[in-house]
C-alpha cells in the first residue's frame, strides 16, 4: 500500500492507488487517510456542475490549461481534476469520453485527472470524493477542480464540497428549470453560459438572470447554507466558448477573485468549518448504521423484519424494539 511519504512527495502511482482504494472501500484506508488529513487544507476546491451537453469537460480542460499557464515554471501550480458521475454503472462510456476530451492535459505532469463513478450509496459518493480531494490536497495540488454532471440532489451535495461553485449552462438547454429545482442556483458562486456562440445566448442569460434574482429573493425563506453569510459577493454571469478559449481568462480571474473574497472576508474559514461539519455528519450517519448492523444479532433482526413485512408489527414499533441496542 502507499505510504504517507509517497503521497506527500506527490508520487503519482501511490496517489492513484490510494484513490482507487478510497473508491473501493474507504474503511480499509482510514489510518492512512487520517495521516493525510493533517497535511491537507491548503487547496482551493472549485466545483463545476451543470447538465450534460453544456460542455463542462471542455471548460474544465481550458481552465486547467489557463491556470497552468498563469504560473511560472519556477513555481508551478499543480492541478487536480476529479470528474464525478453520480449515476448508474453504465457511465463507463461517458467517463471514457471525458478522458478523451481531456487528452491534451494527460501529458502534463502537473495535472492529475481522476474519474469517479457511483458504486454505493449517495452519501458515500460525496464522502469518497471529499477523501480523494484531501489526498490530492496533501500531495501538493493547490487547485482541485471537481466536475459533476447534472443537477440532482447528489450533484448539489458534491458541489457543496467546494469553496467556489461554478454552474455551467448553455443556450437552448432549458436547464435553468432543472437548476432551480435542485437548488443549484442558490449555491452557485459563478455562472457560466458556455457555447456562447450558439443562438439563444441572450435568452439564456435573461432567464438565468431572472432565476438568479428569484433564488436570491427567496433566500430569506429557505434553509440556505450560504447566502446569509455572503452579503457582498454578487455571482457574475460569464459567457464562454470553451472550444476556442473565449471568456476563459475572465472566468479564471473571477475564480481567483472569489477565492480572495472568501479569504479576505473570513468566509473561507467559516465555510470550511461548515462544510466539514456537514461532511462529518454524513460519515457519522453511515458509521452508526453499519456499526448497528454488525452488532445486532442477525436472527433477531431478521425476525423483527419478517414481522414488519407480515404487518404483525409496524416499522415504528420495530424501531422501538431495536432501540435498546
Amino acid at each position: 500500500m502507499s505510504s504517507l511519504n509517497d503521497i506527500l512527495s506527490g508520487n503519482r502511482y501511490s496517489i492513484s492507488r490510494l484513490l482507487t482504494a478510497i473508491e473501493n472501500d474507504v474503511s480499509n484506508v482510514t489510518d492512512l487517510l487520517s495521516e493525510v488529513y493533517f497535511h491537507a487544507g491548503n487547496a482551493h476546491l472549485v466545483g463545476i456542475t451543470g447538465a450534460s451537453g453544456t460542455g463542462k469537460s471542455s471548460l474544465v480542460n481550458q481552465l486547467a490549461k489557463a491556470f497552468r499557464q498563469l504560473h511560472s515554471e519556477a513555481s508551478p501550480l499543480k492541478i487536480g481534476i476529479i470528474a464525478v458521475d453520480p449515476s448508474s454503472p453504465f457511465t463507463g462510456g461517458a467517463i471514457l469520453g471525458d478522458r478523451i476530451r481531456m487528452k491534451d492535459l494527460v501529458g502534463d505532469p502537473g495535472i492529475f485527472i481522476r474519474s469517479v463513478a457511483t458504486r454505493g450509496v449517495l452519501g458515500g459518493l460525496a464522502a469518497s470524493t471529499s477523501a480523494m480531494a484531501q489526498v490530492l490536497d496533501a500531495a501538493g495540488y493547490r487547485l482541485i477542480l471537481i466536475e459533476t454532471v447534472g443537477a440532482g440532489q447528489s450533484e448539489v451535495e458534491i458541489a457543496n464540497l467546494a469553496h467556489t461553485i461554478i454552474v455551467v449552462e448553455s443556450p437552448g438547454m432549458g436547464d435553468d428549470i432543472q437548476a432551480i429545482k435542485s437548488g443549484i442556483m442558490e449555491i452557485g458562486d459563478i455562472f457560466v453560459i458556455n457555447k456562447a456562440d450558439l443562438q439563444g445566448v441572450e435568452e439564456a442569460e435573461r432567464v438565468l438572470r431572472a432565476n438568479l434574482q428569484f433564488a436570491h429573493l427567496s433566500d430569506q425563506t429557505i434553509n440556505s447554507s450560504k447566502s446569509d453569510l455572503n452579503p457582498t459577493w454578487i455571482p457574475p454571469i460569464i459567457r464562454t466558448i470553451a472550444i476556442n478559449g473565449y471568456g476563459i481568462e475572465m472566468l479564471v480571474r473571477n475564480i481567483i477573485e472569489h477565492k480572495e473574497f472568501l479569504i479576505n472576508s473570513d468566509l473561507w474559514k467559516i465555510y470550511e468549518a461548515r462544510r466539514m461539519r456537514r461532511e462529518f455528519h454524513v460519515m457519522l450517519r453511515d458509521h452508526l448504521y453499519h456499526r448497528w448492523l454488525s452488532n445486532y444479532p442477525k436472527e433477531k433482526h431478521d425476525q423483527v423484519l419478517a414481522d414488519v413485512i407480515s404487518r404483525k408489527i409496524s416499522p415504528w414499533q420495530a424501531l422501538k424494539l431495536f432501540n435498546e441496542w
Copy 2:
C-alpha cells in the same frame, strides 16, 4: 388529531390532516401510523417518473379518469395521487401547475390528490411518501399513483416504493441519457412515449429500445434489485398522447397485466418484502443518527468537531472517539 377510525372510514379532512402531519414531522404521528399500518397492504402502488416536460401530469390525469371509468358506480375504485417533487422549495409554482392541470379530477370524490415538496433530507422524502401511501391504502384507495419529476437518485428511490414503475419519455427530450444514467431504465416495468404526435417519435422509440436492451444486457453485472427475479416480464413501450387520450386504454391494460403478472408469479410478495426491507433500513439509518445526536453530550460533540475542523484529529479518529457511545 385524526383518529384511526376517521382514516379507515375515508374521511377526507382527517386524511388530509394526517398527510400534512407526516410531511411536517413523521415522528409526531408514529403511534397513529402504526395503527394505520396494520390496515394497509391492499393497494397497487404505481410509480410514474420522467423528466419535466414529458407530460407526466396529464398522463396521470388521464390514467386516473380511465381507471375510474373502468369500475362501476356500484363498486368504485378509489384512486390516490401523490405528486412528489424532490427539489428545492422553489417548486411551489410547479406543484400549483400540477394542481391546475389536474383540475378536472378535483371534483371527483373517489380521487384524492396530494402534492409533496422536499423539506428535509433525501431518505426522508421517500420515507414520508411511503407513509402517505400507507395512509391512503388504509383509507381504501386501491390504486395509488405516485408521480415524481426528473431522473435523479431521489426519483429512483421514490419510484422504488411502487409495485409497477412507469417511465415516461417524449420525443426530442434527450432524456434517454438521463434515464440510463440514473438507473431508471433498469427499474422500469412499462415505458411510455408520450406526445407521440410530435416529430421524432420513431427516433425516440428506437433509442429507448436500444437503451432498454443495453440496460437488460448489463443486468448481470450490476446490483439490480429486480431483474434477477423477473425473467418473463418484458417491459412494453407504449405510445400515448395524453391530451387527447390516445394510448391510455393500452396503458391501463398493461398496468393491470403487470399487477396480475406480479401476483400470479408470487413476485408481488417478494417485491413487497424487499421494498419494505429497504424502506425500513432507510428509517433505521435516520433513527440511529438522531438517537445518537440527542444522546451524545453536546459540548463533547462540539469539541471533537472543532478538533476535526482545526485538523488536530481526523474525521476517522473522531468516529472512533464517538464509537464508545
